[in-house]
Amino acid sequence: MKKIEAIIRPFKLEDVHNELQESGFGGLTVTEVKGYGRQKGHKEIYRGSEYNIEFVPKLKIELVCSDELLEKAIEIIITKSKTGEVGDGKIFILPVDEAIRIRTEESGIAAI
């Protein structure tokens, strides 16, 4: 099992999520994060003084899936969240030792 952590642009969530859902990925978890990278933040001005908001709002999608489905999930995320502009974000793949569904205590692939 693998865990996909994808940092994407917030407004892309809907597309990514819909496509994942249609392709049978039944669950995911989303977190509001702030990112720093090549995409620069913006300037704000307050009472005559400028300052930088260096961090850009992003969403982190966490999706645990079986090794077989990994490629497909990655492909969907890339296709649906790419704009081609700096700041599209990253996908990180992490190994997962185990997954458990709290409700049923099932574990492994059955849990996700």
Partner: protein
């Protein structure tokens, strides 16, 4: 003879003083009414901010802070003299009595008007003027370019509103025809509504509002702000309608306040029943709009109605406003705060209602009311459409898609309304 002349002197002093007392009371009420109408601007600011997204809040507040300011200043420069050009222009369609404000002693006594001084007159009317432009601001919110909006508002409040106002309140032709609009269901609210309609048509809907033929609601970011706004508007209406009596006449003002408050109440119930019954949930934004609908509805005839008629007018306005909101969404005219439904539609309803309820009811009056509605509507819509179109062709009236997505606060103002709070990305 000596006693006689003394007593004549005494008596004339007394008459003078008594007259002054009455004049002072009237003027006091009109100044307070001006303050109450002023508070409506805070009401609009709060309501419109509350019913839009938090990424556009600075922008809404900015517009609503600057509009009354522009309204007052332009009214001082040209508006007042366009709207009340004097008797020379009675029955006419346009008049102007020169730039700026000026009066000598005659403007300061009951010789000018038994209800108020020249200064009070200006202040009360000036506070009114800006409300028409404020109505527009809500309907075009979340996508209109700030600079273009300010140009539109300036022209609208400096020229559009006073010209129309003159037709009725300035003694123009509609007044001679017998058109009745007590405090401005048409002259203020519908006028604002037509200006908004022109803007909404030319601007188009906010991105994401209508997707694949479906309405995708964009909820307002703060119901407390919206509620504060509506209560302040109701309070302000005490001055808006109550002040339109133009004196503190106890019978007339107190009746007007009662009809106003009952219509507002009935409007709330109308909207509550409709939204709960038809839409299955008691929607607070609809109840708030219902209150305003009742207020706008009664405005044209607030002094001509008995309590029961006021309740009926308000109740119907409350029902209308809910269906109107749904209808505008159906025809994809995107109005974030419901200004078209509240001010345009219920303004028309209220003006029309003067023909069917109350002291003036009758076929003849109804026809005159409809003519007034039509004439003012055509002029204002055309006037506003012209300005918006001119701006669209030149400076543009809509912010970039990028800016709309990120919010006008950052885009237009480079600042955020709530920098301390974590906001939810739109998903």
């Amino acid at each position: 003879m000596d006693t006689l002349s003394t007593s004549i002197n005494v008596i004339s002093t007394i008459i003078e003083t008594t007259g002054t007392a009455v004049f002072t009371i009237n003027n006091l009420w009109m100044m307070i009414a001006a303050g109450l109408v002023f508070i409506m601007h805070l009401g609009f600011a709060s309501l419109e901010a509350g019913l839009t997204q938090s990424k556009n809040t600075v922008n809404i507040l900015f517009k609503n802070s600057v509009i009354p300011v522009i309204g007052l200043l332009t009214y001082a420069i040209v508006g007042f003299n366009l709207m009340y050009p004097g008797e020379n222009f009675a029955g006419g369609i346009f008049g102007f009595s020169g730039f700026g404000l000026w009066t000598d002693g005659t403007g300061l006594t009951k010789a000018y008007n038994p209800g108020y001084t020249y200064w009070t007159d200006f202040l009360f009317q000036g506070m009114f003027a800006a409300t028409a432009a404020t109505i527009v601001s809500g309907a075009v919110a979340e996508r209109v370019k700030l600079s273009s909006f300010l140009v539109f508002s300036t022209l609208f409040v400096a020229i559009g509103y006073p010209v129309v106002g003159m037709w009725k309140w300035g003694g123009g032709f509609l007044n001679e025809w017998g058109f009745y609009d007590f405090a401005g269901s048409t002259i203020v609210h519908s006028v604002g509504g037509w200006g908004a309609l022109a803007g909404v048509i030319l601007l188009g809907a906010r991105k994401g509002k209508y997707v694949d033929g479906k309405v995708h609601p964009i909820p307002g970011h703060s119901m407390p702000l919206a509620t504060i706004g509506v209560f302040l508007l109701w309070l302000g209406w005490f001055g808006f309608n109550g002040g339109s009596v133009l004196s503190a006449d106890p019978a007339a003002v107190s009746l007007v306040l009662v009809t106003t408050s009952l219509a507002a109440s009935a409007g709330a119930i109308g909207a509550m029943v409709t939204s709960w019954g038809y839409l299955k949930k008691p929607d607070i934004s609809m109840v708030l709009n219902g209150i305003l609908a009742g207020l706008v509805g009664i405005t044209a005839g607030a002094d001509q109605m008995q309590p029961l008629s006021a309740c009926i007018i308000g109740f119907i306005a409350g029902i209308i406003v809910v269906f109107s909101v749904l209808l505008f969404d159906k025809i994809k005219l995107d109005d974030p705060v419901g200004a078209l439904s509240v001010h345009l539609v219920c303004g028309i309803w209220g003006t029309f209602a003067v023909g069917i309820f109350g002291n003036l009811a009758g076929w003849h009056q109804t026809l005159i009311q409809l003519s007034g509605i039509a004439i003012i509507g055509s002029f204002t819509f055309t006037f506003a459409f012209g300005i918006w179109l001119g701006l669209k062709k030149t400076t543009g009236i809509r912010v970039s898609q990028e800016e709309e997505k990120e919010g006008l606060d950052i885009g237009e103002h480079g600042m955020s309304a709530y920098p301390d709070f974590e906001r939810i990305s739109q998903y």
